[in-house]
Amino acid sequence: MQNSELIGEIGLTHYLILSALLFVAGMAGVLLRRNAIVILMSVELMLNAVNLSFVAFSHYLGQMDGQVMVFFVMTIAAAEVSVGLAILVSIFKRYKEINVRFFEHLKG
């Protein structure tokens, strides 16, 4: 089948490269962006990059473990985002500011 051939041509490596690219993009966002919401989004991106590689591995190794793990990650990510956003909203309410550079209270 053409479709499957096409798919067959796209091997595990491609998925992993894509996953890595997404992860790096996410990480760059986390490290470089100042906007807290964008940082949160970037974190999501990293998580999803990982998810992608999990699914890919699961498929190619014929094991379900990876897919199970993805569900865990998704749940955790959802929880994390909701808590993170909630914190951000309350911080914003208080300081009118979402630039992370502003929050340096952890400074030793």
Binding site: V30, L31, L32, V100, R101, F103, L106
Partner: protein, 644 residues
């Protein structure tokens, strides 16, 4: 009564007196306090007398009563027993101390009558007596040391008795600390002897002394005896530690009589006599002792020539007379030393009490320039003082003549002696005759120089009785030690009682030869003649021609100043030892403690703090940076894992 009980009474009666008076220290009644204290002293004296009578009953070789109360310290070889011994030597001493002590207690009742702290005073006096008895009767060096330090302590308390006066308190402190210097050496001496002989008991040490004398300096007996002698210089006020004694005159006068003339200051001599076989084995030490003794005798007498304070004159006289005793010890005439110790106790206590009577009469005036002509106001005091004067300048047949002459003769004749020692002694005798006559002249003879407001009055009977008793003793006390050359011409030929009595206890210098009587007579004649001339000169100067001394003093100029200022020894100690020590202490406190050690620890703590500050910089609060550290960490770990 058993000997143990008797000994306990002898020693502890004064202690009981101390406690009774000590607990009623706020009471002001001199009669009650004095009676208690004097009673305690007299009880001691009576029991001492009883014990000495027991002692006389024993055969000459076994004259020793030992009583042991309890084991004090027992560690390995060191076995110190709280034991006490009366033998021929301590018998003399214990009678002198309790006897003279009782008289001085009695005198004090009159003298301290008006003082507020009279109960405290008598308590201290009794405590002193107790400690003195420990010193005398202790049968080993450590028990002696207990008394040794104890009398120093009482001396401290009594010198500083009127402690609100800062100078008196300082004098007390000076006495204690100077004594402590000697005591430290005494301790070292004990260590040397203990490690050499394995015991501190006098009798055992004296038995263990080797027959041959040590000739080197670093040999144990020489070292040990030298240390003990340094201890003695502290207690008995010899060069270089004599400086405390003149200052000690700040105490009440009876204290000066008891502690600083008759008893405590002779402890050093007593200790040496007690250990005479040991000292005999160390000729080098003996030479040092004789030299120091002779020098002290001359130097102190020369200072005595210039002093104006009646008690200071007597104080320097005491130092000088103690020098004689050490001179005697140094030439091996231990019997003569003990003899002079005894006669000196009589006449010097007499003179101090006499001066107390004078001071009492003159309303606390001590400057002899403001006295004079007291003969007619204080006839009894004058009479007794006169006897004391005759005794100290060595007029026969008064006590001082026999003992001093014995010392001079031995200094010349003994194999350990030398004509130089005799010359020192004779020079000292000349000066003694001079300053004592000067003292008599300025105090009792001549015109009165005090203001008309003062009406000197004779002291009450309670003060005079001790004076009379002591005067009698000063007159006849020397008769127990009449030298052979004199006794031969006396009717009945009385023997030298003292020599016979002490014979089993005192070692004679090996190689003593029989001497020509004519030589002894000759030397005796010379010294008496010299003293007489000197006394007459002094009489001439201070009674007949009072302007002469000033002229002579002026012509001597600087020399007179130096002597008058006691050779600047006190100042020297102050500049040379005390000040540098205080400065050094402040220096090490400031530079080592505060600046060096603390600063060093600060440097260490700063180091820790600094590294903390450095690490703290990483923790800058920027979440993104933290995230980067995490990322870098992951990369580093991965690299390590993969590259391995």
């Amino acid at each position: 009564m058993s000997q143990q009980t008797l000994m306990a009474i002898l020693i502890f009666a004064p202690l009981v007196g101390f406690f009774i008076n000590g607990f009623r220290y706020k009471k002001h009644s001199a009669e009650v306090a004095g009676t208690i204290a004097t009673g305690a002293a007299v009880i001691s004296f009576i029991s001492a007398l009883l014990m000495v009578i027991d002692l006389i009953g024993l055969p000459a070789e076994e004259r020793r009563i030992s009583v042991q109360f309890f084991d004090w310290i027992t560690i390995e070889k060191l076995k110190v027993v709280a034991g006490f011994t009366i033998d021929q030597i301590s018998a003399i001493m214990v009678l002198v101390v309790t006897g003279v002590g009782s008289l001085i207690h009695l005198f004090s009742i009159g003298y301290m009558h008006h003082d507020e702290g009279v109960a405290k005073y008598f308590a201290y006096l009794n405590l002193f007596l107790f400690n003195m008895l420990l010193l005398i009767l202790g049968d080993n060096l450590l028990v002696m040391f207990v008394g040794w330090e104890g009398v120093g302590l009482c001396s401290y308390l009594l010198i500083g008795f009127w402690f609100t006066d800062k100078q008196k308190a300082t004098a007390g402190m000076k006495a204690f600390i100077t004594n402590r210097v000697g005591d430290a050496a005494f301790l070292l001496g004990m260590f040397v002897l203990f490690l050499t002989f394995g015991t501190l008991n006098f009798q055992e040490i004296n038995h263990l002394v080797p027959l041959t004398s040590e000739l080197t300096w670093l040999a144990p007996i020489t070292m040990g005896t030298l240390f003990l002698f340094i201890g003695a210089t502290g207690k008995s006020a010899q060069i270089p530690l004599y400086v405390w004694l003149p200052d000690a005159m700040a105490g009440p006068t009876p204290v000066s009589a008891l502690i600083h003339a008759a008893t405590m200051v002779t402890a050093g001599v007593y200790m040496i006599v007690r250990l005479n076989p040991l000292f005999m084995a160390a000729p080098n030490t003996m030479m040092i002792i004789a030299t120091i003794g002779g020098l002290t005798a001359v130097m102190a007498a020369s200072i005595g020539l210039t002093q104006w304070d009646i008690k200071k004159v007597l104080a320097y006289s005491t130092v000088s007379q103690l020098g004689y005793m050490f001179l005697a010890c140094g030439v091996g005439a231990f019997g003569a030393a003990l003899f002079h110790l005894m006669t000196h106790a009589f006449f010097k206590a007499l003179m101090f009490l006499g001066s107390g009577s004078v001071i009492h009469a003159m309303h606390e005036e001590q400057d002899i320039r403001k006295m004079g002509g007291l003969k007619k106001y204080l006839p009894h005091t004058y009479l007794t003082f006169l006897i004391g004067w005759l005794a100290i300048i060595g007029v026969p047949p008064f006590a001082g003549f026999f003992s001093k002459d014995e010392i001079l003769w031995q200094a010349f004749h003994s194999p350990r002696g030398h004509w130089v020692f005799w010359a020192m002694g004779a020079l000292g005798a000349v000066m003694t005759a001079f300053y004592m006559t000067r003292l008599m002249a300025l105090t009792f003879w001549g015109e009165s120089r005090f203001s008309k407001k003062i009406h000197p009055h004779e002291s009450p009977m309670i003060m005079l009785i001790p004076l009379f008793v002591l005067a009698i003793l000063s007159a006849i006390g020397g008769w127990i030690g009449i030298p052979h050359v004199i006794s031969e011409i006396l009717p009945g030929q009385p023997g030298n009682f003292l020599e016979t009595w002490l014979e089993p206890m005192i070692k004679t210098v090996p190689g003593t030869e029989h001497a020509e009587p004519s030589l002894e007579w000759g030397l005796m004649g010379i010294s008496v003649m010299l003293a007489a001339i000197s006394a007459m000169t002094a009489y001439h100067f201070y009674v007949k021609d009072p302007s002469k001394p000033k002229k002579i003093a002026a012509s001597l100029g600087k020399l007179y100043d130096v002597v008058y200022n006691k050779y600047y020894v006190d100042e020297g100690y102050f500049c040379g030892i005390i000040n540098p020590l205080v400065r050094l202490s402040k220096g090490i406190w400031f530079y080592i403690d505060v600046n060096f050690i603390d600063k060093t620890t600060y440097v260490i703590s700063d180091l820790v703090r600094g590294s903390g500050l450095f690490v703290r910089g990483i923790q800058n609060g920027n979440i993104q940076q933290y995230a980067m550290y995490i990322g870098l960490g992951v990369v580093a770990t991965m690299t390590y894992v993969l590259m391995r």
